[in-house]
Symmetry: D2
Subunit: 165 residues, 4 copies
């Protein structure tokens, strides 16, 4: 099969209004309830890029005897981060729209598929996850994600595709 038709990644020179960032944070951290269960907190957001942190908590542990983060916390976080980065890229493409209209685009986003590579055990008090959009098409967006421990060690990587509209 041929690869899907080309698209342009959004320029990174755009800066978001504080109101748009605040609306994104509320949506991502509170209204997406499972993200709250995970404890995700956005620390950086720009067109096509996102960064968040989460703290180790007992209910996120994979095995009570080892105090490691459950692999499912990692995969759920990376999926959420990819979606956030795509939302930021779409937001930058539609800066002329009112914030509410841009936010509504987030509701139309859907994950097509996700791959996670687990490299090292997730130990420690705090973790950071990043995502970048590597292609933003009119119908599909592709992202790459990374998951780090508190020392900046790369624990997991991911890739995902999303439907956009």
């Amino acid at each position: 099969m041929k690869p899907s038709s080309p698209g342009l990644p959004s320029a990174a020179v755009v800066t978001f209004e504080p109101e748009f960032v605040a609306a994104l944070k509320t949506l991502f951290e509170d209204l997406i309830v499972f993200n709250r269960t995970l404890g995700l907190q956005i620390t950086e957001i720009s067109p096509g890029r996102a960064r968040a942190q989460l703290a180790m908590r007992p209910e996120l542990i994979g095995h009570h005897g080892h105090q490691r983060l459950h692999g499912g916390v990692v995969s759920a976080t990376l999926d959420a981060m990819g979606g956030l980065a795509v939302t930021a890229a779409i937001g930058a493409r539609h800066l002329d729209e009112p914030i509410a209209t841009r936010m509504a685009r987030f509701g139309k986003l859907g994950t097509i598929d996700l791959r996670v590579d687990y490299l090292r055990q997730a130990l420690g008090p705090q973790f950071t996850a990043t995502a970048e959009v590597i292609r933003l098409g009119r119908r599909v967006a592709s992202t790459r994600m990374e998951f780090f421990d508190a020392h900046g060690r790369l624990l997991s990587t991911g890739a995902a595709a999303y439907i956009v509209s």
Copy 2:
């Protein structure tokens, strides 16, 4: 690259002792804390195959406005199910070992990577997930997983590789 060296899937004629099944259930449903956060309950376990169910709960929702299960709940569940099926396959290969020894093998299991395909939105009060081992080697096991709604509609599929010992 050539595919990794061949291995034999364990025969499905083995039946587990009730004590082994009970120990697996305790481990999977309670001691793996995040599985309890997800609410996973084993409904069927045989060598190389596993089935579990989970109920929709508010903290598993992806977006407060839509009442859909978060995609991360699906990916976390499919990863957990693949690992459970591998554990059952390994348990069947070492039936001569005491239950405690077999259970200890579970602690050595690690996910190498995971892919999830999201086909349809996850709506409804209850979900079922299944996993089967499609290759059990001495070092690596491969699994396929499926995720269904209460009507038996296929919502997501997955594939994963695990390190075994």
Copy 3:
């Protein structure tokens, strides 16, 4: 992220005209030049399902000392098979269109991403590959693929997503 919006797989009761099947065979086996390099030959085609075979040839070998099929032959074949199954599913959805119009839809198909799991080494004189569409949406289609040796042993599995129009 929520999964992408739902879609209906095409019913399998449709039967294709011989002319459409012949046109598909010519396209797949001859006009897609690299498929000819691989030696792919369609043996079965129905809405959403496809089967093909290929013969071992010296130029497809992974390592001159082992006579195994190169893993890249497997991944290329599975990608091609998924695309063929999607084309057949789309063809069934547009049976009212002239064959040429249906064939033109194939040119708009693009692979979004592909995963291949290598289970066992690919040895022997002949191989078979199958693909089925597990979701056909208006924008994205998802497929599962399998790769077998001459004895029907499962050697590899795959999953892919495609853009459709």
Copy 4:
């Protein structure tokens, strides 16, 4: 599931002997016959990193009407590149061994699984592919790969896991 046990990426300060590089080139470009069918040529090799180029040729085309590289050429190339980078990483870990012994380790390498994301159509006279090892364990290695056109545009990305020994 917990991630697999930790491992150390090999340091990049190692330099290979010209004889080892020459042996790797012969193996990769000639003895792996399908790589020759693809036309892969190593342009750079260091511990855990590899780069190669391939030229567009008629038999690699995906559709005679479009002159695009077949997606299967991309997936086969990325799989081959990941394996090459792992071989280089293993070679650096066993610098004390004779070259023939190090080369024999390549024969034990096997791809566990592969993911390819197709971002843009592969057009033009020449392509470059790179791979890096992001984790080298005693049993499993993980890699990331990229595929570029002659202008350095990123066309595809990949990730793969390999069995090592």
